[in-house]
Structure formats: structure tokens, C-alpha cells
Symmetry: C2
Amino acid sequence: MTVSPLKEPQVQDKSTIQQAPLSAEELRNMNAYWRAANYLSVGQIYLFKNPLLKEPLKLEHIKPRLLGHWGTTPGLNFIYVHLNRVIKRDDLNVIYITGPGHGGPGLVANTYLEGTYSEFYPNISQDAEGMKKLFKQFSFPGGIPSHVAPETPGSINEGGELGYCLSHAYGAAFDNPDLIVACVVGDGEAETGALAASWHSNKFLNPVRDGAVLPILHLNGYKIANPTLLSRISHEDLENLFLGYGYKPYFVEGSDPEKVHQIMAATLDTAIAEIKAIQHDARANGAKSLPRWPMIIMRTPKGWTGPKEVDGKKTEDFWRSHQVPFSEMASKPEHLKLLEDWMKSYKPEELFDENGKLIDELAELAPVGDRRMGANPHANGGLLLRDLKMPDFQDYAVDVSKPGSTVAEATRVMGKFLRDIMKRNKHNFRLMGPDETASNRLDSVFETTNRAWMEEIYSYDDHLSADGHVMEILSEHTCQGWLEGYLLTGRHGLFSCYEAFIHIVDSMFNQHAKWLKTTRHIPWRRPIASLNYLLTSHVWRQDHNGFSHQDPGFIDHVVNKKASVVRVYLPPDANTLLSVTDHCLRSRNYVNLIIAGKQPALQYLNIDDAIKHCTEGLGIWGWASNDQGVEPDVVMACAGDIPTMETLAAADFLRQHLPDIKIRVVNVVDLMTLQPPTEHPHGISDFDYAALFTPDKPIIFAFHGYPWVIHRLTYRRPNHDNLHVRGYKEEGTTTTPFDMCVLNQIDRYSLADDVLDRIHRFKYERAHVKQLIHDKLIEHKLYVREHGDDMPEIRNWKWTGGSGVDKTHSQDNGSPSQEGAEGTAKSRS
Amino acid sequence: MTVSPLKEPQVQDKSTIQQAPLSAEELRNMNAYWRAANYLSVGQIYLFKNPLLKEPLKLEHIKPRLLGHWGTTPGLNFIYVHLNRVIKRDDLNVIYITGPGHGGPGLVANTYLEGTYSEFYPNISQDAEGMKKLFKQFSFPGGIPSHVAPETPGSINEGGELGYCLSHAYGAAFDNPDLIVACVVGDGEAETGALAASWHSNKFLNPVRDGAVLPILHLNGYKIANPTLLSRISHEDLENLFLGYGYKPYFVEGSDPEKVHQIMAATLDTAIAEIKAIQHDARANGAKSLPRWPMIIMRTPKGWTGPKEVDGKKTEDFWRSHQVPFSEMASKPEHLKLLEDWMKSYKPEELFDENGKLIDELAELAPVGDRRMGANPHANGGLLLRDLKMPDFQDYAVDVSKPGSTVAEATRVMGKFLRDIMKRNKHNFRLMGPDETASNRLDSVFETTNRAWMEEIYSYDDHLSADGHVMEILSEHTCQGWLEGYLLTGRHGLFSCYEAFIHIVDSMFNQHAKWLKTTRHIPWRRPIASLNYLLTSHVWRQDHNGFSHQDPGFIDHVVNKKASVVRVYLPPDANTLLSVTDHCLRSRNYVNLIIAGKQPALQYLNIDDAIKHCTEGLGIWGWASNDQGVEPDVVMACAGDIPTMETLAAADFLRQHLPDIKIRVVNVVDLMTLQPPTEHPHGISDFDYAALFTPDKPIIFAFHGYPWVIHRLTYRRPNHDNLHVRGYKEEGTTTTPFDMCVLNQIDRYSLADDVLDRIHRFKYERAHVKQLIHDKLIEHKLYVREHGDDMPEIRNWKWTGGSGVDKTHSQDNGSPSQEGAEGTAKSRS
């Protein structure tokens, strides 16, 4: 078989604008500044001592282990110096997002040159001693990571995992009309799913009320060991792709620094002017249509200005520059020389004075004060964070005169609360969701705002508008990225998602939680609003998103993170959901996971009791228990709305058929209370735990998630050997929707059966009741298979306190059958 | 503020080809066939009884709960009937991948019409009785799910979560030169990250050896409650976008079925002809460059042919058609009439004979036998699966004459084995990885194959070629999707990934594991090759991908899935990795997770011992234990390469300083052995467990992952109260790379300290040894902070059997310092 013939690359020089706006002096100075940044970048990767190369370079000056990424760094530095120029000239408000975040040395170098680094870290001073420490600390134990991280001034984008820079950039720009977010996207990163989807964020940016994003796609051609896809498609395809994404692409291409400086300066001038023109027009005349925002495609060599070859192998403009271009300093003395020549090619003696400080002529190129990108307060959003104006959540309470007898839809109630929050905080709060806001029954928010939409709007469209604050795109990645960017720049929000699909952002959650954890130890990073998730359409009430692609494992994923950062709440009804929501929206620096149902469901607590219960986090439900003053036979614990209902129904059933049985019902809202206080700050003491769960009685725990989560949280607790947990298990052998017949793992009959298996007081009645249970299970299964719905006695069950008689009213109001098509059973799939 | 003016949509009729190739009879018949499919689709969503509407429609004929998705279904049916035409005419080999998989009714309807459904499920016969069952079973307890699922004949793409169809399609096409994969992409789905990235898969498809993918982007305009982004950008932008992605887009637009039938037929003829021409040219003249493959953009109304309005609200061509267009049948009698009129508009009496069978004239339109898309064996890949030709893995063994004294890189050894597997199975095995094959030290495979690359190749490029079988794209989603598609069509493969980044595909793993679980209960689905993951560059040896974005939680995620489907292996060295790899590649219908290091590391077992150890899954390492014939003081257990080394070093240290101590070392390779046999088939009996771990001695367990995984697996095991697990915890307060100083959570000194905390036999010596331990910890920390590397005594430690003297040789060969730039410390970020 014939394969493609090998080619030599054509010189790519299809820059869109061929002008030279820089004066000779400007050009010389900007290039010198860039050389300084590159020098400091290489120094961080290689040098242990001798930072200014005042002595001949020796092996002892080299770090024992060489880590870091050179390849992307000169391009990042190049962009930084050019942004500095326009910021300073036009007094622009710009932050810099580093997609190729492994280029950490470049961002550290630039914030050091502009002075912010030494302000945040006085120990890293702007002199030879500071430079030595700057070099040593990089990727060194006790120092800083090799990528852009919370420790890096000016950053809101963790540079570890790739793909999220552009959604972060748009999140930062929303409701920040004066901000320009320059976002460098690496061509490797551009291959990821999250990044590929996020280009479409331009369709949500309103030039009237939002800031601008200037994407700079950096085509340096190579990843770790491969070319990048985008660098090897034709100029025309590349242009078409970004035209198709709705941008106006400007190409900046070349490898001769002097030429590329001129082209970049001209292009940046044009892009900034176009941004200003779009904004000016929209702000004067209204946002009439989706603007075509400019973007820059910068094609420069990987490892630009680094060694052309190492050991005879192509290095500059190739993947061998990706990381440390050469090492083996001990075994190959010529490498020491190569490094010395490379670093000296930047002529440090022209850049730094004899004390090691950047010379004044160059230092003046940087913006000053908060205009420095390392000092811009938007990149330390806690500085700008203001409390939400909150309505009183108690005003939205549903009336619960008797527990377990009336029905409400919890998230619909929450929607009204969110509506009034959004009304009071028009420029400070966004609700994100992958096309699920209405389906999740939060649609009351549309009484005060709309879905953000900048494309065409038809006369019959539903709550779309350019100034909406509900953000819907069918990409969980983009929703999450937008919200992170919005929060990290000092605003508030909530992400509502089907539980079935939240695993899509597992790794994004990871990075954000770790970011928060790290910032706890960085005094200058100010607390930001918590990242709040509402998971609904949950696994126990899924019409369509059945056993094939649902699981409650996001809880497991969250509790793996550091206790000081994560919170998990399972409010059992509407009033508890209100209380939890209020608490979460007021909190700072956490990830709050709230799981609550959207379907019509029984209500248990009036608002006063709900507040008390949520404040404690867990507690005995006295009205559902009959062990007052006596020893309980069993503790029936529950967490989650469906497990709570089934637990209560089981208790009701048992008390009806075994009137002597003494049952204590404990409900858990705040999952973290179960952990020992040494593991989580919300954990109750062992003494309190034993008081609630008894030192020696059987505990039947019905749980929303995987059962071992409860074991894991409690395995060091008293009475753990008596704890029996029922939860979600991957046992179903069919993909049929199971919510028609809640009977599965945590149903009332199986829970009652569990209780009977663990108490032995009713030696004669026991067999009769067990027989009844087993008959009911079979009867129900047959009924469901025939009718496609739960038996009426299950569907319409209400709390009777063991009397078997619902004393409130008896019409069928619990049936979810025959739901309307709008706003109810809409599932994504 | 002024916002966009509302507009009426322009009629979109910019079809690329305006021809009418169908005869009047063809057109009439194809339209009738489509009506039949639509009729059966509506019937599945609504009808409980009266399938042929022979009686006037009554409430009792309607299902009690209405579930399903109408909106996408008529479009899916339309495409199906058109594909049937060209398949039959040209005897094509085509499978159909349904991106909008919630359109399950359509795929069920079509496979029923072509006869495959009744062949797989004889109970659903092609008559009125069968049709009644077909309708009832849909989204009904004991029936079938509402989306395309393993139960659906002809499917390899679970229709639950969106975004993976196109990567599945390309995976199916690789190495299947005669296959055409028609892949319908929904415009909602097209907003997801995974889908957006996967368009670039065309850059990996070689027309000589691979089949073709024909993407059909179905713009029906709306998601659940929103327009789709792609449906509202301009024709020009849409065309540019797909030109930019490298395709040749053909538009098919309209709402008049007769017209659109003609345009679709003409367009499909053109697309098939272009595919054939590309393949013919490449197969005759070689794959000289990346072809521009055709694709179809089909813009037809959502809910096409459904009710135009419901209750006065726009329904057809709007999001109200997304799911069940109307319900409330009991409270709104006019809805019953609406349904009857709708269904009768398809004129079922013209389509089905009096027995309820499709009339012969229409049935003849479908292809026959295996050409029917529901019966194509590629969509039941187990039918085509052939065993791999396997070299003997023992031939790759590293020599281990004395345990714990020689060094090898485990994955490098595995790479040689993979090389020879790939050599023997040139068209049947692919290795996937996000640009990490060389970094993960599997680069021996490049001695026999290359990276697949269809774009330009430069003279200095490294192992790129059009016929490579190593698949590298910087998208974990695409890698995973390709591999799933490849496996589901009956081939073999392995996905190697950094542990830090594998969470990106958590939800894809979920769906695949659940697919496998479900197929166990579908007799006609034949077993496929297991999905094998190699996670390396793992959390304990990460140079760059530090605490900011790594965690070992994929293990937790995997063990949440059904035990019959998942396997987790932690081979501690090269020979055990070989044995595990051989086992996994021979297995069927599992997900195998293998975690192994790539760095130079001590070797413990010769190949015979490795085979025995891996066959057992866990066992006492006698050579490392000194409790033969006596009671051990402690069991030191370990799983994972670094935990194993640290456990051995701790045992060595303790035996040196407390010569009387009796230590048993137990190593676990197969994590599932720890669970009770009732939970997992690999679980050993409690009796065997107690024999290994003792009934009453303390157990110090060093584990690669989060410690509670071990507790969760063992909490019902004997002696659990004595089990103390050390593993990964989110405790680090710095993002500094920690692998320079392995001392963190599971280091040798901390493990030794744990042992001393739990045994009380050495009442006098104990305090001295503890003091020594604490001194060592401080000494090491200071050393690391100064030198940036582990103390030599740690870096160069070898197993001494407690003598403190390494009797083999003494040169420093364990140091990872000063690694070469190529193939070693290349990390993605």
C-alpha cells in the first residue's frame, strides 16, 4: 500500500495584516522585555544557582531534577508583552488566561518582571537573591508547581488538565462590561472535547452588558510527541473552521521575532479596535445581532528562540521542545555549554542591572497598579465579591400542617426563591444548566429573566433574550466552565443538572475543588462564592435516563475531596431544600452538592422545623418515631427524598402490623455530619452519634446513593456492626424505567423486611408480617407489569402514624401519571 | 437596553442538490414505508391496546404513563428508509448509529418492519398481536427502554447520554474496509464536548484499509426547551464550520416530504458515489492525502408529520415536539381525537394487511438477510470476534534472580509484548492514547507500527503514517469512543492514559460498563473483547500532573459498577504486569483496569512466581516474610507498585532494627479478591481471607488509591477492626511535585510507625525505633527541600531481608534524576 509521501513544511506566512506600527525603539524594547521573560523562564527550568550567569555555568548550578515545559512558554511570553503594550497605552482592563497552563514559567516570569510577584511573595525580591529563589522554587519540593496554579498571580485557570480556558474566559467576561479576557488556547488543548465545544460560547456574549473575550489560538504545531491536528490542516480549512464558529480570525504567522512583533502589534491594535467598535455600537444602539468577534491565530515555532537542535536532532519548532529540551547535564558536558549559550543569547547583562533588577527602561513597559495582569482584581475574584441581596427564604415555605400528607414539587418551590434572588441580583448571579432549567422545574426564574441568547429569536420562542441570565447549552463542560469563570471573578451562581449526566464534569469538579483547597493556604487569595450544584431528575425518579446511564456516584466522587472544601446535602422535601439553598448561596469557598427531587412528593417539615433540622444537619423525627421514653427496637435512618418516603412508609406499615414495635426515625440532610469530627468539620461527636443511633440497636439506613458511602463515612462510629445500609446497587438486569415501581433496593417492603430480620422481639407475629410483605412485593410487581404504574396504595400512600388511615384527605394527588408535556416529564433523552 | 428584534424564521431551502431521481412508484412506496415507521413509533409512545386502530380510540387504549421522544423520530425513520434504498440497490454493507438515541421508537419500528426484531424476539411477531406487544413493551416495566439500547437490534451506541456517536462510528469503521457507518448526529448532541471534538476523527480514517463514515447532522432545530445553536447560525457559517472540519457538506432542507425524499435520494446517491470514488482511488493509487469525505446536513422539522399545534401552541417544528407532544388524555378528550387523527393520517390500513403485517409491496423495500441494518453482524461484534494471535508473554519476562534488587520499567516491558501482539494482529488491534504512548513508555510498538496520521507528514516526523495502528488524539473522549466502537464491532484494543486524566471519561466508562452488564442478559448479543485500560504516570510518580489535578478515584468509580463486569489489577512489577496484560487481552465482556508504573522500579517476582501470584490474585510473599512456622506480629499488606516498595522497605527497616519482629507481607494484584465471594466472583472465601490476613493480628495495608476503597471491599471480612489502611488522601497543602520525596501518606517510615503503634511486644526497643523513624522523616524532608531529590538511602534502597545490606550490587541505578528528554519525563502538562 502506498502511503503519503513525506513533505517539507511550507513556510507559513499568511498573516492577515502586514503592517509595522512599532517604532524602532518600541520594537527593540519590547523584544528585550520578551528576552527577559524567556531568560527567566529558562532559568526556572534549569538553574539552582548562578541566576545571572555571572560565573561560568557549572554542573553544580543546575537543578538535580529537571522539570517544566519550555515549548509553549516563549509564545505565552510574547503574547504577554504585547498585551502589556495595549493595556498601558489604552488603559485597558485585561486578564490573561493561559490555556497551555503547563507554561507556568512564562506566567511566573512575567508577573515577576511587572512586580506583582514580589508584592505577593516578598521573599522573591526583584534582585539577584530573589531571582535565585525564583529559579529554585520552580517545580521543587516546598516551592511552586510547574504549571499556572492558584499560586500564580493573575490566574483563574488551573493549568493542569487541558480544555477549560475558553469557558473560564467567557464566564469571567459575563456581566463584566469593561473587562477584556485574553485567552490563549493551545493547539493541543484545542483537540479536547471541552475546548472544542466552548468556541460556541461567543453565542452567549452580549456586547452591551458583558465584556469581551479575545481568543488567541497558539499554533505551535506540536503536542508531547505528535503534531497537532489544527496545525496541519490547510490555511483555508482553518479559516473556515473559525468563520464557522462565528469568529473573525486574524492570522499572525512567522518565526522572525522582529517581523512577528510588528504583525502582532498591528493585529492586536485591530482586534482591540474591533472589540471597542462592537461594544460601542451595541451600547449606543442595542445588541441587534450576534457580533462577529475577532480572534487571533498565532502560528509561531514551538520552543521559539530555544536550541535549534540537540544532539543533532531537531528541537526548536518540534515536539522535542515540549518539555525540558535537553538534560543529562552530567553525562554530556556539551549540554552545559548549550544551556549557557542559550541563556546568554538573551543577553541578560543588557536586561538586568548589576543587582539583578530589570532595567528601568524595560520595567516601564509594563502597566502599573491594578492594570498589571498579575494584579488585576478580577483574577482574585474574592476581592470584588459582594454578598447577594437575599430575600427571606422562609417566605417561600410550603404549608405543612401535618407531616407526610401534602404534596409539593421541591425544585419548583426552590425556583421561586431563585427567581427573587435573580431579580435582586441582576448582574451578579447566573443559573447554568444544559437545557434543563424548565425540565428541572426551576422555570419560575423566567418570570424575572430569560435564557441568554444572542442568535436569532423567533416570535414564538420561549424566554430567549440577549439579556437573560439563565445559561443553557447542551454541554455540561461549558456550563461548568462558565460557572467556574464567573465565580472565580467574584460573582455567584448555581448549576442545575440531571444526576444522570453530572459525571461528565467529574474531572472539572476535581480541579475546582483542588483549586479551592489550595487557595485556603494562599493568604492573598480572597474567598469566592461556593460552587453550588443542584442535582435533580435523580436516579430514583428517572423516566428516561434509566439504568443504562445513571448512577449516584457523583456523591462518592465529591466525598473523596478534601473535607474542608466539600459539602453534600440531601434535603428530603421543599422546606428543607429552601433552607439548604439559602445556606449554600451564602457560603464561601466550598463546593456544595444538593440533591433533591423535582416530582410531586410528600412534605414533612414546616419551615421552622426545616430550619432546625437543617441547622443540626440530622436528627430524630419525633413525629415519625414512637420510642419516646422507651428503648427503640430499631433505628430507621434515611437520607434523600425517596429513601425518606420509603422509610416512613415502612415505619408506618410496621407500626400498623406490629403495634408494639418501637421505631426511631432519623433523617440526615447534611451527609458530612456522619463522619467523625476529625475527618470533617460538620461531623458530630461520637457521643452525639451514639445518642442518635443508639449504642446497640439495629440501624436500617435507606440512602440515596451507593450504600458503601454510608459505611465509609461511619466505619469508625459506635454501633457500626449493627448498621445495615440499603441504597443504589448496580443490580438491575433491565433498562426499563424503574421509577414507575419504586420497589427496588430501598422500597418500603424490603426495608420492613430488613427490620424484621434484625429484631427478634415478635417471635409469633413476625412470620405473618413477613408473609404479608412478600405477598405485597409479588402483588406489586404483577400490578406494575400489567398497568405500568404503581399500585394505588403505594402511589397514594400518606403518613398515618401506624393507624393505616390517612386522616387528612383522600383524593389521589400523588400520582405522577399523565403528566403534561411541558415542564414535567421533559428529559434530555 | 435594546435587544434583538423578534424575527420570523426564513424558509430554509438551500439544499445542495436539486434533483429528483426517484420514480413516482419509488417515491410513493418509500413514503409509505416511512409512514409505517412513523405510525409504529407513535403507537409505541401512546398505545396500550388497539394497535391497528380498528376500533375507535378510547382512553383505555392509551398507556397510563406516557414516555418517549417523538421529536427526533420521524427524521431517524426518514434516514433509515433512504439508507435501505441504497443498501438494497448497491448491496452495501451499512450500519446505522443513532446519535439522538432517545429516538428509540424509530429504530425499534424500523427493525420490526424489516423483520429483524421478530427474529430476535419471536414474541413480538409481525402481526396484530405482535404489534400490540411491541407497543406495550416500550418504556414499560419489564419491557424495553425508551432509547436505543443493547436490546435494539443493529445498535452499538447506547442512546442515553449524548455525544459519543461519531467516535463510535469511526471506531467501527477502522479496519473494516467494506463497511459504511451511517451516523446520525443530533443538533442538540452536537453541542456536547465529546461530539464537537470527534468531527476531527476524519483525519484518522484511511480510505485504503478503513471503511467510511457518513455523518448526517440532523438539524431539527430544538433541544428540550431551546433552539439548538447550529440550527440558528447562518447557512454560510454552517457550511464553513464543516468545511473547516474537513468535510464536504451537502445540505438537504425542507418540510414537504415528497420534495425532501427526492433531494435526500439524490444526495445519498452522490455521497455514496463519492465514498466509493475516494476508496477506489486510494485503493488503486494509495492514500496520498487526506480525502474530503462527504457529509449530509439535513434540516427538517422537529416532530415532522406530528401535530402542528396542541392546545393552540406551536408543536411541529418546535421544541414542544421533543418528547410526548401531548398527554392529559383523561382530562382533555380532544387530545384523544388529536392522537387518533394523527395516527390515522399515516393511513395504517394502506400499510398493514388485515393480520397486521406490513404489505409485501413495502416489505420488499428493505434489504434482506445480513444486509438489513438490524441484522448486520458488525453491530453484534461478538459474532465477528476472533481470538488474538498471542505471543507467549513469558518470553518478555525480566530476569529477577533475587527479589527487590534489580530495576526495570514495567510499562516498557509491557510495550514489547504489545509490539508483538500488534505485529501478529495487524488489522484487529488498536492502541489508543491521548498523545501519551511514548511518554507511557510503550514506544516499542513503534518498531512494528506507527501513529495513524492522514494529514501531511514531514520528513522529520516521528512514526506517523497513514497505516499506523496507534491512535493518538489529545481527547480522552475520542480515544475512549474510538475504542468502544472498535470493540463493539468485534475487535481488540487497549487505552493507555495518565491516571490524572482518566476521570475525563468517567461517564463514558459508565455507559460502556452498563452496556456490557445488559448484554449479559440478551442471548443474541455475543461477547466482545474487554475494554482494557492501562493507567500509568500514576498518582505516586507524577512529575508534573501534581496534586492540582490528579487523584486515584477512577478505581472508586469502577468498583461502583456491577461486579460481573469490572476487574481492577495493580501489578507491582514488570512480570506481574505481563501476566495481567495477557489475561486481560484474552478476556471477554469486562472492563479491566490495570494500574502500573512507568518509572524505573524494583522488581520482585520472576515470571513463574508472577504467574502463580497473578493467578491467585493475592498472596503471602514468603521471601519478604519471616513468620514461617510462627505467629506473625503484624500483616503488612500492599497493592500497587509504590505501596509495595514502601511496604517492603518498611518491613526491611523494622526487621533490621527489631530483629525479633515477625512480619507477614501480603501483596494484592487483583483488588476484587478482597471482596466477599457473594459480592464479586473473584472474592476469596472468608476462610481463606482469615488464613492470609490472620483472625486477630493487626494489618497495615498500603494502598495505591483512596484508603476507604479497601475498607469498603473488606468491611464484612474477619478481623476488619484490626485493619489500618494508608492510601492517597487529599491532605497535601502544596501542589509541589511530591514524587521527588515519596514520603507522603504511604512512605516506609510512616508505615513502620503504624506497625509500632499496633504491636506491643517490644516494650523497650519500641521508643528507640520510633525516635529513629521520626528523625529520619525530618532528615529526609530537610534533604529534599535542599536538594530536590530523595536521600540516597531512600532513592537507592533495595531489599536486604532485614540485614541492612544489599548483597547484589551497589551502584546507583534507582535514581530517576537527569532523565533524558525523550520518552521519559514527557508529561502532558
